[in-house]
């Protein structure tokens, strides 16, 4: 036993020593940093035979705060206020990230605290200038419950154009799963999270070509609540290409459930856009785009039937995203969503302004 203690002590000493040697004040100073993003939305939603619903909403105001004690050890945090106000269950104040980060080298680092699992393109990178539509894609709400955060630990690294991240964090509460929104309501959001069954998540991306990010992730959790237990796996593929004035995105995800009538949720979408400002001005971006989305939170139901059509939606969208500078964006989009059971349509028109820094 004494040998083990000695080994641990030597290990800690080696870590500290290597940290001290690597420190060089010409290249690093302890520092705090701030950042953030925000977005204002106007939503006009008109369902068949109904009055249009019009909403003006400062959807998200997010502040990032970080502090680096040295080159290896730092704190990262992000606090979000949703819908401008919190009262009686409306609006949300969330601690979306708050973790200690140890960055040993490019190939290895770890995080402990409130972390983001690596699922899809938007869960970790969701600042408004980074996606084309006013609202986040419906896929990133109903299939991937963005922003998905929780208490846990993660390992990450990169090598030769490949990036990986492995997370172990709080699981989902299966009592709160809904047919209309999949696993979204099952997020515990770090609030005295039930740690009975951990969630395991792994992702690998290839970023070796300028403008390209393509990868897959795998997530497993034996979700549980007071009255249910639902083992599930989420497998998704994502790719994004933003170079040579082209903006192309594709995401596909499938959730398989066990021990319950709903057997799976599935969805995908793709975006195609082109920066037409490249023809007349190189200082800004003007990107008209087209999006096609197909998602179904009950894509397979025990016994089949209409249950598999009730939450199956298809949607097309056209829009325009204008960036006077890379960190500021003005957007508009128009789309029609069709439900596959009722064939009813919802027309959606949105305007938005967003920023990041």
């Amino acid at each position: 036993m004494q040998k083990i203690y000695t080994a641990i002590f030597i290990t800690i000493l080696l870590i500290i020593t290597s940290t001290v040697i690597a420190q060089d004040e010409d290249f690093f100073e302890p520092k705090s940093s701030i950042g953030g993003y925000g977005e204002l939305h106007y939503n006009n939603e008109k369902a068949d035979g109904k009055e249009a619903k019009k909403v003006l909403d400062f959807h998200r105001f997010v502040l990032f705060f970080g502090y680096a004690w040295n080159e290896q050890w730092s704190l990262k945090s992000e606090v979000e206020l949703e819908h401008n106000f919190v009262k009686d269950g409306q609006g949300e104040l969330e601690l979306e990230q708050a973790y200690i980060n140890y960055h040993h080298a490019d190939w290895f680092g770890f995080q402990a605290g409130v972390i983001l699992p690596s699922v899809g393109l938007l869960n970790e990178y969701h600042e408004p200038p980074l996606f084309l539509s006013v609202e986040r894609p419906e896929y990133s709400k109903n299939i991937i419950p963005t922003t998905w955060f929780g208490n846990g630990v993660a390992l990450y690294g990169s090598h030769e154009g490949f990036e990986y991240k492995l997370s172990v964090m709080e699981g989902l509460n299966s009592d709160n799963f809904k047919n209309s929104s999949g696993i979204r309501s099952g997020r515990q959001k770090g609030y005295k999270a039930d740690a009975e069954n951990f969630l395991y998540n792994g992702r690998i991306d290839y970023t070796g070509l300028p403008g390209l990010r393509a990868g897959v992730s795998f997530t497993y959790n034996k979700a549980n609540g007071d009255s249910t237990e639902v083992p599930l796996t989420l497998i998704e593929f994502h790719a994004k290409y933003t170079a040579n004035n082209i903006h192309a995105v594709f995401e596909y995800g499938n959730i398989s459930y066990s021990d319950q009538p709903v057997e799976s949720s599935m969805g995908y979408y793709f975006d195609l856009g082109y920066n037409v400002a490249s023809f007349f001005c190189d200082k800004m971006e003007v990107i008209p785009f087209f999006r096609w989305t197909d998602y179904n939170t009950v894509s397979s139901f025990e016994g089949g039937g209409d249950a598999e059509k009730k939450y199956h939606n298809k949607k097309w969208m056209v829009g325009l995203s204008v960036k006077p500078i890379p960190q500021v964006v003005f957007k508009l989009d128009y789309g029609v969503r069709e439900n596959q059971l009722t064939n009813s349509e919802v027309k959606l028109f949105n305007l938005g302004a967003g920023y990041m820094f």
Binding site: L121, T207, G208, K240, D282
Partner: protein, 179 residues
């Protein structure tokens, strides 16, 4: 258990060796791999003249990390061939250390990330992305999206490093004239 501990110690020992003197070693390794048999001095500090510093910062809308940068004079076959400059810019919250090697006309021969310190945005280290700066000089355009490709998940790093490289092209003549 013991095997795991021994493995851990070996990994950290190995990694610790890499960390020591990492920036200097890595910088010289980059110079060595760019030229055949280069001769270069130890890194020297170049104090950026106050007026130039302020002018370049204003033009690039980015502050210098310090009021000096490091440089190496690179000789081949007895004559001055190139100048390598080392500087830092801030990414989202940590400094990114990068090197730019110029020919004597101020054209970029190579740019390289010497040290990246964060999880996100490491795509700026890729060779293909850095290749885009080759042959650019102080007169070149550095617009992101058209001249320089954006990187998904590395917006802040791409902006910072691009501005940082442009800043060095603008102080290159002053470094060269000081030799």
């Amino acid at each position: 258990m013991k095997i795991l501990l021994i493995l851990l110690i070996l990994i950290i020992n190995f990694a610790g060796t890499i960390c020591a003197g990492e920036i200097k070693d890595r910088s010289e390794e980059i110079i060595n791999s760019t030229f055949s048999g280069p001769v270069f001095n130890d890194a020297k500090k170049f104090m950026i003249p106050v007026e130039l510093l302020s002018e370049v910062q204003k033009k690039c809308k980015q502050k210098f990390y310090k009021n000096y940068v490091y440089y190496w004079k690179i000789e081949e076959a007895g004559s001055l061939k190139a100048i390598a400059v080392l500087d830092n810019v801030y990414g989202k919250s940590m400094p990114i250390t990068f090197m730019v090697i110029f020919d004597l006309d101020g054209k970029i021969i190579r740019s390289e990330i010497v040290k990246y310190r964060e999880q996100y945005g490491g795509g700026v280290s890729s060779d293909q992305w850095n290749e885009q700066f080759k042959n650019k000089n102080s007169e070149s355009s550095f617009n992101i999206g058209s001249d320089i490709a954006a990187i998904s998940g590395a917006t802040i790093s791409v902006n910072s490093v691009t501005k940082g490289i442009r800043k060095l092209t603008l102080i290159f003549n002053s470094i060269k004239n000081s030799l």
